[in-house]
Symmetry: C2
Subunit: 325 residues, 2 copies
């Protein structure tokens, strides 16, 4: 079977055929038509075997995750997913593996009405690079640089679970954790849910937004740097999973939540006058949206507080080439 | 130095700042504005160390090539290059290497007025995935499926040189080749010139177009399959480099030209009534555009001819997962 047959067999036969795809897979380029008065949002992420996932990970879960982490970037801009390109490098032609991978990938694409419009299949060490394209109404994208001191800081879901899931897969003893919670954490790691509906609902409501793939504290740092302000985070307000707090102690649970990484939740800031909208969005989506602190004037620094007192908690985010890790 | 500092230091400081880039590097997504009445052309290609290039290749040449092979796909659609994303996976942080790579990459981006708008830097086995975006006026893209029997087949440049360059790097003895020709072939391999101006000029002139990265014969096969016709190619019309024919014999030079691969020339078909335009384009661009045969009615098969007689010449194109190689 050739490269071309491969692409045909597993990736060409997608159910979703968008009207704005003039040419999909099968020419030198995809040819795409943009809606009027929209801007194009584009993001690229690579997952490398042995770095971002274990070589023996379930290929269907990997297909899901490779797309989900990219859609999460669209969600963080408030963009609506549209098209995706997939570049996949494989050490050998394993059809069973590829079939499972494609099913995980395409199932998520279908869910969001995205069409796979191109890509490349190459031979080499296993890695996956996905480029997603979405639309956002002109001038309505959620960015990082328009937050202001006084805005409230919110986060979706329960960050830290994915990181705990990773530790469990690496052999962490977790005698205090129920089997259900353990599986939930592993699921959060392997099959994250991009917060597309929340991102779209936050257009015109949030003053800034980011997805916290690198860890809540580090990604909040990007908003602080871009918006030139500081932040107070109140540890007792963090949306911790009660089972986890019971099993591994409060301080460790806070550290997971703030620095764990690989969560694809949204962190966003909301001006006082828009706060009532957040309850509506949480209610509509069924996803907890929790206020964890507030932006303050001053240097782009994060201050952790417990009972309104400064609290010291060493944190480090995910950074491949940093000496800090 | 962290991943973020890296991106800043080598890739963020591009001279070209396009007005249609609302947000470039530094947010969850790039945010881009499309021109009116244009369609978006998108292509992705991966280069893997040890497969597409030698691990010790000059990083500046690699930076050039990684972008050039993608721009070539835009050229083949008749699209005008605009934006690019770069996902690069590196085994270690080698700043000297990265600086050279970035210079080669960005110099070509500048040449075409493209802006680097995003990407990802990860740790792992060396590989590079580039996604390019271009614009093409609505309905004017060059595709593969609209060629017709009777159309003439043209190719730009002198295909086969890149493939010979590869063989020279692999230690092919080439006593009959001048040092100049040897270096020229290696340059064609390592620093191909995407045919952007030719592609744009072919809008409204060519009936189909493709870039011949996989080898002339194999890529012509894609046009034949998509357009439901056959082709006659006349070997004596192939634009062979005279030095190469002298050194390695005519039949071998034909095989290099037809099946070599890694050429980023354009193969295109032209209706009889548009043929006069081709001379104008060749004259304006200074690139030879050579008529090598004609499309014929019938099965999507390629017939090779010499002095109007059938000629047998075993060929194989570049296909990573094919048993044929």
């Amino acid at each position: 079977m050739s490269e071309f047959d491969l692409i045909d067999k597993y990736f060409f036969q997608q159910v979703t055929q968008r009207k704005d795809v003039i040419l999909g897979i099968g020419d030198d380029c995809a040819l795409l038509s943009m809606p009027a008065k929209a801007q194009l949002a584009v993001s690229t992420d690579t997952l490398v075997s042995g770095v971002h996932f274990f070589a023996d990970v379930d290929p269907r879960a990997l297909g899901h995750k490779a797309l989900a982490v990219n859609i999460s970037d669209l969600a963080a801009m408030g963009a609506t997913p549209a098209w995706v390109s997939l570049a996949i490098t494989l050490p050998e032609l394993n059809e069973a593996w590829l079939s499972e991978f494609a099913q995980g990938f395409l199932a998520l694409a279908e869910y969001y009405g995205m069409q796979l419009v191109g890509g490349d299949t190459t031979k080499g060490p296993l890695s996956i690079t996905v480029t997603v394209h979405g639309h956002v109404p002109q001038g309505k994208a959620l960015t990082r640089h328009q937050a202001k001191a006084g805005d409230w800081i919110y986060v979706s879901g329960q960050p830290g679970e994915a990181s705990l899931g990773l530790q469990l897969l690496q052999g962490l003893s977790a005698s205090g954790l129920s089997a259900n919670t353990q599986q939930h954490c592993i699921n959060r790691l392997q099959q994250p849910t991009p917060r597309v509906v929340i991102g779209a609902a936050l257009r015109g409501v949030a003053s800034a937004c980011i997805d916290i793939s690198d860890g809540l504290a580090q990604d909040l740092g990007h908003i602080l740097a871009a918006s030139h302000c500081g932040a107070d985070i109140h540890l007792e307000q963090l949306p911790l999973n009660a089972d986890i707090v019971n099993a591994i102690a409060f301080e460790q649970a806070c550290r997971l939540c703030l620095a764990g990484g690989d969560d694809y939740e949204l962190l966003f800031t909301v001006p006082e006058e828009q706060r009532s909208q957040i309850e509506v969005i949480a209610s509509n989506t069924g996803v907890p949206l929790t206020c964890i602190g507030r932006l303050v004037a001053g240097k782009p620094e994060l201050t952790l507080k417990l009972d309104n007192q400064h609290y010291q908690l060493p944190l480090a985010g995910w950074d491949h080439f940093s000496d800090k890790k």
